[in-house]
């Protein structure tokens, strides 16, 4: 595999070198100022901003692999907390000389950042010229690639393609006398199973296992749960004009279903989010978990982080609604600030990361969710990845079918905050579900201005 990467790398270097020479001959100002790919004597240094959840992994495990191909590009990955990321990214990319040459951003921020004019178009100009001829754009799942697009321009490439999926504990299903879920499991069947999954597994008279845990806390990922339910029933969160489309019977039913899940969740689940629900599942206390596919390795494989065995854990899309199964896309995209002085090196880094070879490395070795069909259709290096790849293929298909992703709009965060607030109030029984959706729908047009 390393040889393959080196082969691609050499090809990239030759093509990029020719492109630079051609651009220089034509007197292209921007290219002339770019630091290129560096030499042994004068290496190029690029800085990457990444979310705290994976910045360290990228610096310590991914960058050394990249440097085997591009030894003259020194990469520093800075960790930025999620809640501060957007404001910092906005500030940086609008600067005439941004600190970062690569910004790895959540998909919902792409329209926001792109609309400032601060992101480079990855499919035209210099970057197109620097792109390896073998770089296969069409190989990406459309549902993943479109996350980096805004107004018909490709600003980002998918680097970590997360999908919201249903994890299940086969042992707890067996103890409850229920069959393990299949991709055909419907919401009706699932809701019938949930009361039986609240059980006393050791016979001491105390309930010690519950049916479900997921996001119920007041935070921006929580509405993704009922959006996935809504989408599976053929409903939509927003219409094509970015206006709320959830304030109807289908939306009320989806949020009511999300709220009903609390009846079968562990005590205190109203304050559970990513970490708490994951811990409950990993400790064998809940039978099903709606969480991101990226947690599979730590949930089923790594003995240091889970009490479960690989054969106990299953994963698939959320139960089937009236139209399809449910999921929710959450992709981290690699972008290049338009004013970066090291665009060629930055693109070389992103191109390698999102190449077929780069994806094979990090999907197999690090368990990071890939976005290419060639990766997900290949035979993974480890057996435990087989169900993950299968579930992801299923997830990408239903995501594309039901457009199961966040609002695409330059002010999407403001709208999402309104939905988060009202979802939290409905889940906490502060106001009825219908009233919460009405308030959210009324407030969103102003938030989007």
């Amino acid at each position: 595999m390393t040889r393959k990467i080196q082969k691609i790398g050499r090809r990239t270097v030759v093509v990029s070198g020719l492109a630079v020479m051609a651009a220089a001959a034509l007197g292209a100002g921007a290219s002339a100022q770019d630091a290129g790919l560096g030499t042994a004597e004068h290496p190029v240094e690029i800085r990457v901003s990444a979310n705290e959840s994976f910045a360290n992994q990228m610096q310590t495990l991914v960058v050394p692999e990249f440097n085997k191909v591009y030894p003259n590009i020194k990469v520093t990955v800075d960790s930025v907390p999620f809640v501060e990321y957007l404001a910092k990214a906005m500030l940086d990319i609008t600067s005439p000389s941004p600190l970062y040459d690569v910004a790895i951003v959540d998909e919902k921020w792409v329209p926001q950042l792109a609309s400032t004019g601060g992101l480079a178009d990855l499919k035209s100009g210099d970057i197109a010229a620097w792109t390896d001829v073998g770089y296969d754009w069409d190989d990406f799942y459309q549902a993943a690639l479109s996350s980096g697009e805004w107004s018909g321009v490709q600003y980002g490439v998918p680097l970590r393609s997360n999908l919201l999926l249903m994890f299940y504990n086969k042992t707890l299903f067996e103890k409850a006398g229920l069959p393990a879920p299949t991709p055909e499991l419907t919401w009706t069947e699932y809701l019938e199973q949930l009361p039986k999954l609240v059980q006393d597994t050791n016979g001491d008279g105390q309930v010690d296992a519950w049916g479900i845990d997921t996001y119920f806390i007041r935070e921006p990922n929580t509405p993704a749960i009922w959006q996935a339910i809504l989408s599976g029933n053929g409903g939509r969160f927003f219409d094509e004009n970015a206006q709320p489309a959830f304030n109807n019977e289908a939306g009320i039913s989806a949020l009511e279903t999300h709220k009903k899940l609390l009846d079968y969740a562990p005590p205190g689940a109203l304050s559970h989010g990513f970490t708490e629900s994951l811990q409950a599942f990993r400790q064998g206390q809940v039978a099903t978990l709606f969480n991101w596919v990226s947690v599979y390795k730590g949930t089923a494989i790594d003995a240091a982080t889970t009490t479960l065995k690989p054969e106990e854990v299953g994963v698939q899309a959320l139960p089937v609604g009236s139209v399809s199964g449910g999921t929710y896309r959450g992709v981290w995209n690699g972008t290049v600030p338009a004013n970066s002085q090291n665009k060629q090196a930055a693109w070389a880094f992103l191109q390698w990361l999102s190449s077929k070879e780069g994806e094979q490395f990090y999907a197999n070795e690090l368990g990071i969710a890939p976005a290419r069909q060639s990766t997900l259709n290949s035979t993974p290096k480890y057996d435990w990845l087989v169900p993950v790849f299968t579930a992801m293929r299923q997830g990408f298909e239903v995501a594309a079918q039901g457009e199961m992703w966040t609002l695409r709009h330059p002010r999407s965060d403001a709208a999402l905050q309104v939905i988060t607030d009202e979802t939290a109030r409905a889940l906490a029984n502060e106001i009825p579900v219908a009233e919460a959706l009405q308030i959210a729908a009324d407030r969103i047009p102003e938030a989007l201005q």
């Binding site: 809640v83 501060e84 957007l86 404001a87 906005m90 500030l91 609008t94 926001q112 400032t116 004019g117 806390i217 007041r218 935070e219 921006p220 562990p266 005590p267 205190g268 689940a269 109203l270 304050s271 989010g273 708490e276 811990q279 409950a280 206390q285 002010r411 965060d413 403001a414 905050q417 607030d421 939290a424 109030r425 889940l427 906490a428 029984n429 502060e430 938030a447």
Partner: protein
């Protein structure tokens, strides 16, 4: 004789005037460096924030743009979430501040007596203060968790609970108050201990000779003497408590519902999640003005207590 008296008076008036000017100059000589630093560190950010609050914030340039007058203030005042956050903040302050003051002075009074290990206990009291608020919130979140937390397990021995500390709106607010009290009561204990040490011993000795018991000495001597210090401590703690943000962020995220969404969390979310910098600046200005007025009232009350005979 009259001329001599007049000359003497003139001289005295002149020397008094010089003394006043000298006093004024020496005061400002000491105060000037601090004043300059304060203006640089506070006046500029506050004036910039005020400017943003009267503008449309341009995300393209990340700076205040067009002047919009009072529009942002009108939007904020019409937003139910602003008033709801203020109410939540008021509830938190009403419970947390008196509790911390009473506990702080109570503990200080109890450990004021001479006993072995008093110094060690005083030292241990400092620990919660040096724990980062986010860490404190995280630790308490684990301890109060209904599934794995030690709090419910411990209360279970007494047949109490289990409680859903962060899932019930009232208990969630109680949890925030408990965590904040755990962090800040030691600070009050330290101030109160110093204040108790400074109380005149002879008054207590005289009361003891007159047959006053422990309770009478507390109610009729210690508390009246401590009143100005209690008032000053209240003002200091009020200024800290009104900024409450980090514990809520790490423990409850403002939930469940909006039960613990204090005003600073709301301002933060509007600014850094929704990127509504203009509206959040308007909120910050309103909170600043409100806090300043209330602080002024508390300081006035505190001075009155100090000046009481």
């Amino acid at each position: 004789m009259t001329t001599e008296t007049t000359t003497y008076r003139e001289r005295r008036v002149r020397s008094l005037a010089f003394a006043r000017i000298g006093d004024f100059a020496s005061r400002w000589t000491f105060m000037l460096p601090a004043a300059i630093i304060m203006i640089a560190m506070l006046a500029y950010p506050i004036s910039y924030m005020t400017q943003i609050s009267f503008s449309r914030f341009d995300l393209m340039t990340f700076s205040p743009g067009e002047w919009v007058g009072w529009d942002n203030y009108a939007k904020v005042l019409a937003d139910y979430r602003f008033w709801s956050s203020l109410r939540v903040t008021a509830v938190y302050l009403v419970f947390a501040l008196p509790l911390q003051i009473i506990l702080g002075f109570g503990i200080a009074y109890l450990i004021h007596a001479e006993w072995r290990g008093r110094g060690l206990i005083r030292g241990l009291f400092i620990i919660p203060m040096v724990v980062a608020p986010v860490v404190a919130g995280g630790i308490w979140r684990m301890m109060l968790d209904p599934l794995w937390g030690i709090a419910n397990y411990f209360l279970g021995f007494f047949g109490i609970g289990p409680f859903d500390w962060f899932g019930d709106p009232n208990l969630a607010m109680a949890s925030v108050v408990i965590i904040d009290t755990w962090r800040w009561t030691p600070f009050i204990v330290l101030i109160a201990s110093a204040a108790l040490l400074s109380l005149p011993r002879d008054v207590f000795e005289a009361a003891e000779i007159d047959g006053a018991n422990w309770w009478q000495m507390l109610c009729y001597i210690a508390l009246p003497l401590l009143a100005p210090i209690i008032a000053a401590t209240f003002v200091v703690r009020w200024l800290g408590a009104v900024k409450m943000f980090d514990i809520v962020l790490s423990a409850t995220l403002g939930g469940p519902g909006a039960a613990t969404k204090v005003i600073n969390l709301f301002i933060y979310e509007e600014a850094f999640r929704s990127l509504r910098f203009a509206e959040s600046s308007a909120m910050a200005v309103l909170v600043l003005v409100g806090t300043t007025i209330l602080t002024g009232i508390f300081l006035w009350g505190s001075r009155r207590l100090e000046n009481e005979p």
